[in-house]
Structure formats: structure tokens, C-alpha cells
Symmetry: C2
Subunit: 189 residues, 2 copies
């Protein structure tokens, strides 16, 4: 069994706003920190932050540089290591091209949603596929009010919803990312 | 099988700082939002924010009032519901007294740590105990550089570390809380 070829992308565009209009959301500080730390902990090869705005791309790069600077790296070396797996891309197509460039083949693209679809896949099933380590996998996370229909339709699989204890199910993207990584990639439990 | 009597507390005091000095940390906006949303999703009865500073207690109360106000509740009703389970207490003893008052018995206190101890408990074992729904359980999460030795020593159980994919293990408290709740309280997977 080889190391999983696992990639994660947080999409700031194209996503819906509250009124189902397609927008670009802004980068949130803790989306970088929390998801980078969880990604590094679970052996994710790259955590892509997807935003087509140059100003937003610069912001992410400036933060990464801060934590890999002499001061940042000395103050908190773990954070440097977490930020080292962050990569900024303008759009989903660029992420897929980057992975194809690294792995020699396109990744299987998996999205997440609160509803179920004909191509919904369970955690156990997806975990087994990923752990074989043969094909690269890319999990997409949305921001705002979620990924657009076009992105959802383009995915190979849609992960089944995370069921809590009842009807209420409103996890932050940071919580959802952590739980998904734990379910798919954790070591011994 | 009854509904688990499950409580969560985020301690801002007493915790260590980077130099192992005992301090009080400040409340972080997203620690309230993310952990309240995850707690509500997984059926936690109360999420205690523990801080002995009156100014910090007021801050938490003001945020809760905002999300339950007419404007906040209309803008995002899910957030109102998440914040409704937050309770502010000055210290751990007050949390335990509050649970005893509600449940008629003291909770079993469980902490988390990156090391293992003689009273370390696994997730599967603890999940089974909790799911019986007879005894109340309280999970403690630390801020800063972690819970003090005194708090650790006073706990009934210490949850085993969350193993990622390798040596690196530096999850945010928000990620750790989400993963712990998912492992102990999730519905069907």
C-alpha cells in the first residue's frame, strides 16, 4: 500500500452567495491556518487556496512568507510546516492541471454536499479507494453559500453528508474539512 | 438507549502559555462559532466557555445576544441555534456544579492530550460509554499551550491523541473539537 495521493482545494470562486448569485469570496485567515494544519496532520500533499483575484493571492502569499520567515519560523515552526503545503491557484482548472503535472494523471474530483446524488459515495468506500494510493484524489470545499451547480456536476463523486446527531447540520468549512480528513485519512483509532 | 448526556467546555483559565506559565487566554470569535456549530450538530447539551474575566464574559454574552437578536436571527437562524447552547462560566468547578444541578450527578470528566497516560481511554471505548446515555460526560478542551497539570490530574479519563498520517500533529482546537465530536457522537457513517 502506497501513501495516498490526496489533495484538497478551498474554492473562493465560483461559489454562490446567500441569494444564489455567483461570486468570489474573500480569503479568511483561519481557513488558511486551520485547514493547513489539519491537511499537514493528515498527510495531504497540497492544500490549494483558489481565488482569481491578484490582491487575494498576494494576501495568501504574504501570510505564507511571514510564517516561513526567520521570525515566524522561530516563533512557531509547526506553522511554517503547515503553510508549506499551501498553493495558490486562480481557478479549479489550474489546480487539476497542477496535479496532472505532478502525478502524471488527472485527479478523481470529489465534492461535498448536504444532499445525496446518484454519484454519492460513502466515507468507507472512498477511504478504501484513496488508501490504495494509485490514483490521485482531489477534494473540493466551497466557501460562501456553496459550490456552483456547474462545479458539482463536473465532479466524479459527491461525498455523502456528514451526519451529526439530529436534523441540525451547519458545520463551518474548517470543521467539515477536519472531519472529512479524519474519516478518510486517519491512522489507527 | 437514551440521548447522550454530553457536555463540552473550552477552558481559557487555567492554561499554560508558551513558557509554561499559568495564564488566562482571551476568547476567540471563531472558537465560539465553530465549536458551537459543531456542538449543536452533534447534539452536545451545553458548550461552556470558561473565562473568569468579567470583560471576556461580557464579550461572549454580547455575541450570543447579537445572534439571537431580531437582526441576527433573521440574517442567520442557524447561528442563533448554535449560540443558544453556549454558557459562560468563570471556572471548571462552576461547570461541574452546573451539570450536577441539571443531571442530578457530577459528570465524568475527560481531557485530551498529545501524550498517553495510565488512564488514557480510546475513542471506541468512550463512545460506547457515552452512548449508553446514563452518566453525564464533560470533555475539556484547552486553549493557549494546553491545560495545566492540576486539571489533567483531576480528570477521570484522558482521551488518546488524534493520530493523523505521520509525526506532525498540530490541529487547531476547532479542528480537534470537531474530530472528537465526530468520533464520539456521529450518527450513521
Amino acid at each position: 500500500m502506497s501513501q495516498p495521493k490526496f489533495y484538497l482545494a478551498l474554492l473562493h470562486n465560483p461559489v454562490y452567495n446567500k441569494n444564489m448569485k455567483v461570486i468570489t469570496t474573500t480569503v479568511t485567515n483561519l481557513d488558511l491556518h486551520d485547514i493547513a494544519r489539519a491537511s499537514r496532520t493528515y498527510g495531504v500533499k497540497k492544500y490549494y487556496v483558489v481565488n482569481h483575484l491578484k490582491s487575494q493571492q498576494k494576501l495568501v502569499k504574504r501570510m505564507s512568507e511571514y510564517w516561513s520567515s526567520d521570525f515566524g519560523a522561530e516563533y512557531n515552526p509547526d506553522r511554517k510546516e503547515a503553510f508549506s503545503i499551501i498553493d495558490v491557484q486562480a481557478q479549479l482548472e489550474d489546480v487539476i492541471a497542477d496535479i496532472e503535472n505532478i502525478e502524471g494523471e488527472k485527479p478523481v474530483v470529489v465534492t461535498t454536499d448536504a444532499r445525496t446524488y446518484p454519484n454519492t459515495v460513502g466515507y468507507k468506500e472512498l477511504r478504501e479507494k484513496i488508501q490504495q494510493g494509485t490514483t490521485p484524489y482531489l477534494i473540493l470545499l466551497g466557501t460562501g453559500w456553496g459550490l456552483t451547480k456547474e462545479v458539482m456536476d463536473s465532479a466524479d463523486y459527491i461525498l455523502e453528508p456528514i451526519y451529526g446527531a439530529g436534523e441540525y447540520n451547519h458545520l463551518s468549512v474548517r470543521s467539515a474539512a477536519s472531519i472529512i480528513l479524519d474519516r478518510l485519512l486517519s491512522g489507527k483509532k
